[in-house]
C-alpha cells in the first residue's frame, strides 16, 4: 500500500468511525465549527442551509496563518476564489473567471453590509488599500456566484461581506505593530466599550491604523525601445537628460526603488445604541508600482518618484431595525459615501508629450464620486414560526460623478491641452427586491427572490435567484441554485473620451447567469464540500481596440484624428464567457479544536468568445487550490500554522493581443507561509506573531514596461527589439514579526 493510499484509508476510517465514546466531543465540535452566515439571504443561517455557496474566514484564522489582507484571506482560506497581484490593484476571480484590471468591479464588497464599490469605476479594493483596519474584522463571509438578488449591481462573481467585531469581542484597548524587514510596517490602535446612552444599551468599537510598503526595489529587465517616430531620437523615460535613452529597465537604469510604495491610513468606527447602528469608515490609499502598463496609458517615466495614484474615501451608514410584532420586522438604512481619485503620470516620451518646447508632460487625472441613499426593508413571518418568511426592500440612491484628465508642462506648469476624459453626471438609481424563504420541514428549504434595478444609463434589469436546499440524511446537504447578476457600465466607461478613446455607444449592462449544484457532508468535526457549476456571461465590457478599417471609418465620420495616435479604443460590449467546473473543499478539527486543517481545489473550463474567436481567459488560472494546518499547543506554547495556495500556469494579460514570441504564460505559483503565534510569557495581554512567506514563481501574468506588444512593422520602423514579453516580478520571500497588546479587556477579551 502506498503512503498516499494509507493516508486515504486513515482518513476514511477517521471519518467513518462511529465514536460512541462519551468523551468524544467531535460531533459537538462539528456543530460549533459550522459558520452562521447572513450575507446570502440577509437572515442568519448555517452555511449548509444558506441559498448559495459560502465560506467564512475568521479572525482566529488570520492569526493562525498570518493573514493581513483580504486578498491573502481569499487565496489561503477561500473556496473557489482566487486573486492575482500585478503589484497594484489585485484582480479577484472565481470559478475560472477573472476579468483582469477590472478594478474589482465584478465582486461586490461590503463592510457590515455597506457597499464599498463606487460608481465612477465600480471599483473596490481587496489588497491593503481596502482600508479596513484588520484587527477589527470578526469574520469575512464569501458568497460565490451571482448575488444581485438582494444587493444589485457588481455581484457578478460573488459577494464579500466583511463583518467587524462587536464590543463584547473588542473590549478594552488594543495596540498592534507589524514589521516586514525591508518591505513594510503596519501600526494600529483600537478600543471597544459597552455602555449605556440615554437609557439604552450601547456599544462602540473603533480602530485607526497605518500601513506603509516601502520595498522591495525590483530589478526590471531591459527593453530596447528604439527611436521615437515623432523626432527620430531614442525614446526618453526620464526628465533627466543624462539618463539612458532608447532603453527601459536593465542594469543601465538600475532597480526601481522610488516608484514602488503604498501608504494606507484607515479608520473604522461602529456604534450601536438601542435599535440603531452607525458605521463610519475613512481611508486613503496612495501607491506607486514599478512599471507602466496598459491601464496607466500615459506610460510614465521609469522609477519616477512623482508618479502615483491616490484614492480617498469617507463613508457612513446608519441602520435602524425594529420588531413591530412577533411576525413583522422593519428596518431602514441611510448611507452616504465620498470617493476621490487622482493619478499623476510623468511622461518624457516625445510620442506622448508632443508639444513644442516641452520635454516632459505631467498628466493629472482626477475624479470623484459621491453617493447617498435610503434603503427600507421589511420582513413578514407568515405562520409565526419562520416556516415562510418574506423579505421586501427598496433602495433609492442618488449619485454624482466627475472625472477629467489634464496635462501640464513639467518645466513651467502651463496647461498643454484642454481637459479630456471628462465625465460629469448625476444619476438616480432605484432597486426593489423581494425574497421568500419557505421551510416546510427540517430537511427541505426553498428560497426564491428577484431584484429589479433601474438607473439612468441602462434599462431596468431583473436579477432572480431560486435555491433549494435538501437535507436528505444526517450531516448531508444538497443545494441547487440558479441565479443571475449584472454590472452596469461605470460612468467612466460610458462617458470618458480623449484623442485615442472614442465615446461609448449603446453600452449595455454585463450580465451573468449561473446554475450550480453542491453536496456538503458533515461527519462529526469533518466537513466535505463538492460543487459543480455552469455560468454564462454576456455583454462583457472592455476597451476594444479599433481595427484599421474601423479607424478609417471613424475618421471619415470625423470622430477621431488618426494622425494623433496609432491605436484607438472604445468601450464596447465585446465578449461572452462560458464556463463550467467544480469546487471541492475539506476542513475539520481534531483534539477539541487544537488541530485544524483544510484544503480546497477548484478547476474550470472557461472560454471567452468575441469577434476574433474563442479562447481561454487571460490571467485566470484554470485550476487553483489551497491547504492549511495549524496546531495550538495551549498555554504559553505557540500555535504553529502552515498554509499554502497554488495556481496553475495562466496566460499573461497581453497573451492574445500582444503578438509575443513565445506565447507569454505565467508559471504555476505555489505560495507557502509558516506562522508561529502565541502569548508572550510574563506580560498579560501581549501576543506575538512570527511568519515567513515563500513564493515559488518569480513572475506573474502581467506584461510590464513599454513593450506591451510586439508589432513587427512598428518595431522595424522604431528599431525596437521587443519580441518576448517581460512579466511582472514577484517578491519571493519575506518575513514578518508582529506584536499585539490588549489591555483593559476584562474577562472576554484576552
Amino acid at each position: 500500500m502506498t503512503s498516499k493510499t494509507s493516508a486515504l484509508v486513515a482518513l476514511a476510517l477517521l471519518l467513518a468511525t462511529p465514536s460512541a465514546r462519551a468523551e468524544d466531543t467531535s460531533d459537538l465540535q462539528g456543530s460549533l465549527d459550522e459558520p452562521v452566515v447572513t450575507t446570502a439571504s440577509q437572515s442568519a443561517k448555517t452555511a449548509s442551509t444558506a441559498p448559495a455557496t459560502t465560506t467564512t474566514i475568521t479572525a482566529e484564522d488570520f492569526v493562525r496563518w498570518n493573514i493581513t489582507s483580504l486578498d491573502q484571506a481569499l487565496d489561503f482560506l477561500g473556496v473557489g476564489i482566487v486573486t492575482s497581484n500585478p503589484l497594484h490593484q489585485v484582480d479577484v476571480g472565481a470559478r475560472g473567471v477573472m476579468i483582469t484590471k477590472d478594478q474589482g468591479n465584478h465582486f461586490l464588497l461590503l463592510v457590515n453590509g455597506h457597499v464599498m464599490n463606487e460608481p465612477l469605476f465600480g471599483s473596490a479594493r481587496f489588497e491593503k488599500g481596502a482600508g479596513i483596519p484588520f484587527e477589527m474584522i470578526d469574520h469575512i463571509e464569501v458568497v460565490i456566484g451571482p448575488g444581485s438578488v438582494l444587493y444589485g449591481s457588481y455581484a457578478m462573481l460573488g459577494v464579500i461581506n466583511v463583518v467587524t467585531k462587536r464590543a463584547k469581542d473588542w473590549k478594552g484597548v488594543h495596540l498592534v505593530g507589524e514589521f516586514e524587514p525591508g518591505k513594510s510596517w503596519r501600526a494600529g490602535a483600537g478600543a471597544g466599550a459597552l455602555f449605556s446612552l440615554f437609557g439604552k444599551p450601547a456599544e462602540v468599537t473603533f480602530q485607526v491604523e497605518g500601513y506603509r510598503l516601502f520595498g522591495p526595489a525590483f530589478e526590471m529587465g531591459e527593453q530596447i525601445t528604439g527611436i521615437e517616430l515623432a523626432d527620430k531620437q531614442p525614446e526618453r523615460f526620464s526628465r533627466d537628460p543624462s539618463k539612458p535613452r532608447g532603453v527601459w529597465g536593465g542594469p543601465r537604469w538600475g532597480a526601481v526603488d522610488k516608484q514602488h510604495y503604498v501608504i494606507v491610513p484607515a479608520t473604522l468606527a461602529r456604534v450601536l445604541v438601542g435599535d440603531f447602528e452607525l458605521n463610519l469608515l475613512a481611508s486613503s490609499y496612495k501607491r506607486a508600482w514599478p512599471f507602466s502598463d496598459t491601464r496607466t496609458r500615459e506610460m510614465p517615466n521609469y522609477n519616477e518618484p512623482d508618479n502615483f495614484e491616490l484614492e480617498r474615501s469617507a463613508r457612513f451608514d446608519l441602520k435602524w431595525q425594529k420588531l413591530l410584532s412577533p411576525v413583522v420586522q422593519i428596518g431602514a438604512r441611510l448611507y452616504g459615501d465620498s470617493f476621490d481619485y487622482r493619478r499623476q503620470g510623468i511622461d518624457s516620451r516625445v510620442g506622448a508629450c508632443i508639444y513644442p518646447g516641452v520635454t516632459t508632460c505631467v498628466t493629472n487625472t482626477r475624479g470623484y464620486s459621491r453617493w447617498g441613499g435610503l434603503e427600507l426593508q421589511g420582513s413578514f413571518d407568515w405562520f409565526h414560526d419562520a416556516t415562510l418568511v418574506s423579505l421586501l426592500g427598496v433602495d433609492v440612491k442618488r449619485a454624482f460623478v466627475k472625472h477629467q484628465s489634464d496635462s501640464t508642462s513639467d518645466e513651467d506648469g502651463r496647461p498643454l491641452r484642454s481637459s479630456d476624459q471628462v465625465v460629469d453626471e448625476a444619476d438616480a438609481l432605484l432597486g426593489a427586491y423581494m425574497q421568500h424563504e419557505w421551510r416546510p420541514t427540517g430537511w427541505f428549504e426553498l428560497n426564491g427572490g428577484i431584484r429589479l434595478d433601474v438607473g439612468k444609463s441602462y434599462d431596468p434589469v431583473g436579477s432572480p435567484r431560486v435555491a433549494a436546499v435538501l437535507k436528505p440524511w444526517r450531516g448531508g446537504a444538497l443545494k441547487l441554485v440558479y441565479a443571475q447578476a449584472f454590472r452596469p457600465p461605470s460612468w467612466y466607461e460610458l462617458r470618458a473620451e480623449d484623442s485615442t478613446q472614442l465615446p461609448a455607444r449603446d453600452l449595455q449592462p454585463e450580465r451573468v447567469r449561473s446554475i450550480e449544484a453542491s453536496l456538503e457532508q458533515k461527519v462529526r468535526a469533518q466537513r466535505l464540500f463538492f460543487g459543480v457549476y455552469r455560468t454564462e456571461w454576456r455583454d462583457l465590457i472592455e476597451a476594444y481596440v479599433l481595427t484599421p478599417a474601423e479607424i478609417r471609418e471613424a475618421a471619415a465620420r470625423g470622430e477621431l484624428d488618426y494622425l494623433r495616435a496609432v491605436s484607438f479604443r472604445q468601450f464596447r460590449n465585446v465578449a461572452t464567457i462560458e464556463n463550467f467546473g467544480y469546487d471541492a473543499g475539506f476542513d475539520g478539527t481534531l483534539f477539541s479544536g487544537a488541530l485544524r486543517y483544510g484544503a480546497s481545489l477548484s478547476s474550470s473550463f472557461a472560454r471567452r468568445t468575441d469577434a476574433s474567436g474563442t479562447r481561454p481567459l487571460a490571467v485566470a488560472p484554470r485550476a487553483f487550490g489551497n491547504a492549511r494546518i495549524a496546531y495550538a499547543f495551549g498555554g504559553y506554547w505557540p500555535t504553529l500554522g502552515l498554509a499554502g495556495h497554488w495556481l496553475a500556469s495562466r496566460p499573461a494579460d497581453r497573451a492574445y493581443d500582444g503578438n509575443f514570441e513565445p506565447f507569454p504564460m505565467a508559471p504555476p505559483l505555489f505560495e507557502l507561509r509558516g506562522t508561529l503565534s502565541g502569548k508572550v510569557p510574563g506580560v498579560r495581554g501581549l501576543t506575538y506573531r512570527l511568519s515567513a512567506n515563500w513564493v515559488s514563481a518569480s513572475e506573474g501574468p502581467y506584461v510590464v514596461g513599454p513593450g506591451q506588444s510586439h508589432d513587427e512593422r512598428q518595431n522595424a520602423a522604431r528599431q525596437a527589439q521587443i519580441v518576448s514579453a517581460q512579466l511582472v516580478p514577484i517578491d519571493q520571500f519575506r518575513t514578518m514579526f508582529g506584536l499585539r497588546y490588549d489591555f483593559g479587556t476584562g474577562e472576554g477579551g484576552e
Binding site: A22, E23, D24, T25, D27, L28, Q29, S31, L32, D33, E34, P35, V36, V37, A44, K45, T46, T56, T58, A59, E60, D138, H139, E141, V163, R166, A167, K168, D169, A193, L194, F195, S196, L197, K200, P201, A202, E203, L272, G274, L323, L324, S325, P326, V327, D381, H384, D385, A386, T387, G442, S592, G593, E747, G748
Partner: protein
C-alpha cells in the same frame, strides 16, 4: 476663565462617566434558534446528571414574556426547532411553553413539571438576578437564548464569535442547579465562574 475651563472639562467628563456605566446590549439572539436547539440537544448529553434529572422522557420548558415581541418570536421558533429534534441528550422529549410571571413561580413550575431544561427567551434581562436566585438548588439546566445572561447566572448560553457558535457556561450556577458538565465539553466552552 477657570470656571469656563472647569465647565468645558466637566461636561465631557460627566458624559464619559455616564457612558462608562457598563451594560449589556439588549437581548440580542445572536445564534439562530435552529442552531441553539441543535446545540441544546447535543450538549445535554454531556451533563452527567441529565439522564437522572430527565428520567425516561425529557421535559423542556420554553419561557416567554407576555407582550414582548422578541420573546414571543424566539419562543415560537425554539418550540418548533426543539420539537423537530429526534432526541435531546439521547432522550425523547416534550416541549411546553410557559409565560413568565415571576421567578418564584418559574421555579415552582419547573419542579412541578419535572423539567430537565428551561429555556429563557429574550425579554427577561431585568429578571435574571431573581431567576438565578430562585433556581438555586433547583435541579434543572437553565439555558439562555441571550449570551449576555450567562455571566449573570444562567447555566448555559450561546454566542456568535467570528461567525461561529460558541458555548458559554456559568460553572458556579451549574453547581447550584446540579448540572455537571464533563471535562471534555468544558474545553469547548467559555467558562464563567
Amino acid at each position: 476663565m477657570l470656571a469656563r475651563r472647569s465647565f468645558l472639562l466637566g461636561v465631557p467628563s460627566a458624559i464619559l462617566v455616564g457612558l462608562a456605566r457598563r451594560t449589556a446590549r439588549a437581548d440580542d439572539v445572536a445564534v439562530p434558534p435552529a442552531v441553539q436547539a441543535q446545540l441544546i440537544g447535543k450538549v445535554a448529553a454531556y451533563d452527567k446528571e441529565f439522564a437522572n434529572r430527565a428520567g425516561a422522557r425529557a421535559q423542556v420548558l420554553v419561557v416567554v414574556r407576555s407582550g414582548d415581541d422578541a420573546s414571543t418570536r424566539t419562543g415560537a421558533a425554539m418550540m418548533k426547532e426543539l420539537g423537530a429534534l429526534s432526541t435531546i441528550g439521547g432522550l425523547p422529549h416534550d416541549e411546553t411553553q410557559l409565560t413568565f410571571t415571576n421567578a418564584k413561580d418559574l421555579a415552582t413550575a419547573i419542579k412541578k413539571k419535572g423539567a430537565a431544561i428551561v429555556v429563557l427567551t429574550p425579554g427577561h434581562g431585568g429578571e435574571i438576578d431573581a431567576i438565578r436566585t430562585a433556581l438555586d438548588g433547583v435541579n434543572v439546566l437553565s439555558v439562555s437564548t441571550v449570551a449576555e445572561w450567562v455571566p449573570r447566572g444562567v447555566v448555559l448560553g450561546f454566542d456568535l464569535v467570528s461567525g461561529k457558535p460558541k458555548l458559554l457556561v456559568h460553572l458556579g450556577q451549574a453547581k447550584k442547579q446540579n448540572v455537571v458538565f464533563k471535562a471534555e465539553v468544558l474545553k469547548l466552552m467559555r467558562v464563567y465562574e
